[in-house]
């Protein structure tokens, strides 16, 4: 027994020593030319990893390209990363603090506002601009983070804009009635469908039914399938990510009972990794930032897509965010102070980036007005079938 007690103490002591070691972590050495440091707290292996990873990889390429052309006002861009390991809140916060210690001028964060919150808090509390590459709600900004939230921006498309674009596309295709299927597990999914409904009604469309289900292990998708199958509509509209599990189940379920109603999804439904073998997916549409399948209207996009092996079009938000931040720094005459950059960015109006023109407003710190790619999947093969820009940002 005494031995056990001692063992425990010894173990604790060793661990303590190890932690002391880690306390002496490396300090970022400052280079003489004073580069602009972008710190990126990304998710290396959790639920956001498939989105953060390609965005980060593509951003690196973009940063190299900017530096090759002489950098920003003569200063090089330097990227420092920290892995939040599945966006564990304590690791995320520690990462953000670490990046601050390493003198990051701008801090990039993960693709979900709730998971990004620890990082955003650390950055904006210290007057540093916080940028998300692909958060899709209107919450990355003052709406969610109050006055200091002025320093928070996202280069994702705001759900209100995306849902509105989806409605416009559906209406243009001649779909007059829609069945809504809301995945309630995250706010972005809900907002997209709400925005679709608002805009679709405005255009004169009719909503046949509202169904809800829960991805991420909820076992009621089959119930939603049966209900959707009994509703007669021109299109079934949903917003859910393939990786969250319910999408494959829902499409397989619908198609194997012989229901071939078109399904329209948001950027969340991008990618081919989730396509079931049999029956093959057909009559499936989604809107996205860019095509990751090599047929994007923009050559630059296609080149990047090939280099980073992106699973979804979200990868383009990484370099797009870099472009946006570079423009902001230029317009701020080289300042990297958070509030200065924020003031500039709030007035972005159709600022060109690799993923098209982006706009912000003092109220909306997430992109609207971007040109969406519409991709259709037939027999498991995706193909760009058009582009669309939302005329209005839907009110929800």
């Amino acid at each position: 027994m005494r031995r056990r007690g001692r063992l425990a103490v010894a173990a604790a002591a060793v661990l303590a020593l190890a932690l002391i070691g880690s306390a002496l972590a490396a300090n970022g050495a400052r280079s003489a030319k004073a580069p602009i440091i972008i710190g990126w707290a990304f998710d290396g292996n959790g639920s956001m990893a498939p989105f953060d990873g390609p965005a980060l990889a593509a951003a690196k390429l973009q940063i190299n390209a900017v530096n090759a052309k002489g950098g920003v006002l003569g200063r090089k861009l330097k990227l420092l990363t920290c892995d939040t390991q599945g966006n564990k809140p304590d690791v995320a916060k520690a990462c953000a603090l670490r990046l601050v210690q390493q003198k990051a001028n701008v801090i990039f964060t993960t693709c979900d506002v709730d998971l990004a919150a620890p990082v955003v808090r650390v950055a904006i509390d210290r007057g540093i601009l916080a940028v998300a590459s692909c958060i899709g709600t209107d919450q990355m900004g003052p709406k969610r983070f109050g006055t200091k939230g002025r320093l928070a921006f996202s280069f994702g498309n705001v759900a209100q804009d995306e849902g509105s674009a989806m409605a416009q596309y559906a209406w243009n295709r001649g779909w007059k009635t829609a069945a809504l299927a809301t995945d309630t597990v995250i706010v972005y999914f809900r907002n997209v469908v709400q925005a679709f409904e608002a805009r679709f009604r405005q255009l004169g469309g009719k909503i046949v039914t509202h169904e809800t289900y829960q991805s991420l292990g909820g076992n009621n998708v089959q119930n939603a399938v049966s209900r959707l199958n009994s509703a007669k509509a021109d299109v079934i509209v949903t917003s859910t990510a393939g990786a969250f599990g319910a999408l494959s189940t829902m499409i397989t379920g619908l198609r194997s009972v012989g229901n071939n109603t078109p399904v329209l999804n948001s950027w969340a439904g991008d990618g081919t990794y989730w396509l079931p073998a049999n029956p093959k997916v057909t009559n499936y549409w989604f809107v996205t930032f860019a095509s990751s399948f090599g047929d994007d209207p923009s050559k630059a996009v296609n080149r990047l897509a090939k280099q980073v092996k992106a699973a979804t079009g979200g990868f383009i938000t990484g370099p797009s965010a870099v472009d946006g931040v570079v423009t902001a720094i230029k317009r701020a005459h080289g300042s990297t102070k958070g509030i200065v950059l924020a003031r500039v960015m709030e007035h972005f109006k159709n600022v060109p980036t690799i993923s098209g023109n982006v706009s912000f407003s003092p109220k909306l710190h997430t992109v609207f007005g971007r040109r969406y790619r519409v991709i259709r999947i037939q027999n498991n093969v995706p193909k760009v079938v058009g582009t669309i820009v939302a005329k209005v940002v839907a009110k929800i």
Partner: protein, 298 residues
């Protein structure tokens, strides 16, 4: 409330699937007195095997063979590395150990295959329905239920009528005495673990029919529900455990259909409230004879 025959058909299908999972969990409990929380990760591993085969374009039957091989190896390894050394420990330690194993397997899957998920090769034609009076009854519902009933029957006969089964029960009740009588206890328990592995692999094959995307948390929620169902039904007998599994699956499917759609997100609350209520009224199990208490290894 919209309760129709379609809802009942869907609920029945879910019940059949959960009953099949319950047979495997109930068998391990019956023989090892162990609540194996990592059972779902066995199913997950099997499903990833199917996905592995699909990614390489192998025929479905090769994937199924691979699935069985992987799950069986994994379950036997689990028995050797974890269950055997802990056989005499308290239920809390054993349960937490299975948590650790589950957590570990899930982490490995996450690192190995990523969080996007992989599509599994499957017997997807089973997803097609027979339409009876306007109600779509998916073939998988029938298959799952029949397989569950078949496995249950086979195991009940094995446990009740054969010497191997007798030895299994004896080893479960009193490991040491069974060995003193000449029962090769580690071997018979290993057999039970192997059988539960077979069942897990079967579950993996059938579950991917309706849920073709395999993620690291594949079958996790289902395992939790089935565990609740098995305790609810009564863990001491395989039949009551299986019925418990069926009941919770059916209840889940039924409530999912009967709840207004905007309340569907509260389904877990309704379900677990029912579970708690039943446990308070019949702590020994819904399908056990009155007065029998579920007894875990103490």
């Amino acid at each position: 409330m919209t309760v129709d025959w379609q809802t009942i058909a869907d609920a029945f299908g879910l019940g059949g699937m959960y009953a099949l999972m319950a047979v495997g969990i109930g068998l391990v409990f019956g023989v090892l007195r162990l609540v194996n929380f990592a059972y779902g990760q066995l199913v997950m591993a099997g499903a990833y095997s199917l996905a592995f085969a699909y990614e390489r374009g192998w025929p479905v039957w090769v994937g199924i063979l691979l699935c069985f091989a992987v799950v069986i190896v994994l379950s036997v390894a689990m028995d050797w590395v974890v269950f055997r050394p802990l056989r005499t420990q308290t239920p809390a330690v054993m349960l937490v150990a299975t948590f650790a194993v589950a957590f570990l397997l899930q982490s490995i899957a996450l690192l190995w295959f990523g969080s996007l998920g992989k599509i599994a090769a499957s017997l997807s034609s089973l997803n097609q329905p027979w339409t009876v009076g306007g109600v779509d009854i998916r073939k998988i519902s029938i298959v799952a239920t029949v397989v569950a009933a078949g496995c249950l029957l086979a195991l009940v006969l094995l446990l009740g009528r054969t010497n191997v089964g007798l030895h299994m029960r004896a080893a479960a009740l009193d490991f040491r005495t069974a060995r003193l009588l000449g029962v090769r206890a580690n071997r018979v328990i290993g057999t039970a673990v192997l059988l539960s592995g077979l069942l897990a692999a079967t579950v993996a094959v059938l579950m991917t029919v309706q849920t073709p995307l395999v993620t690291p948390d594949f079958a996790l929620r289902d395992t939790i529900l089935v565990l609740a169902g098995v305790v609810l039904g009564g863990m001491n007998r395989l039949i009551s455990a299986t019925l418990g599994g069926f009941a919770i699956g059916f209840a889940s499917g039924f409530l999912g259909g009967a709840l207004p759609t905007n309340q569907s997100q509260y389904l877990p609350s309704f379900l677990f409230a029912a579970v708690i209520l039943v446990l308070l009224i019949r702590p020994g199990g819904l399908f056990t004879r009155f007065g029998q208490q579920a007894a875990e290894r103490v």
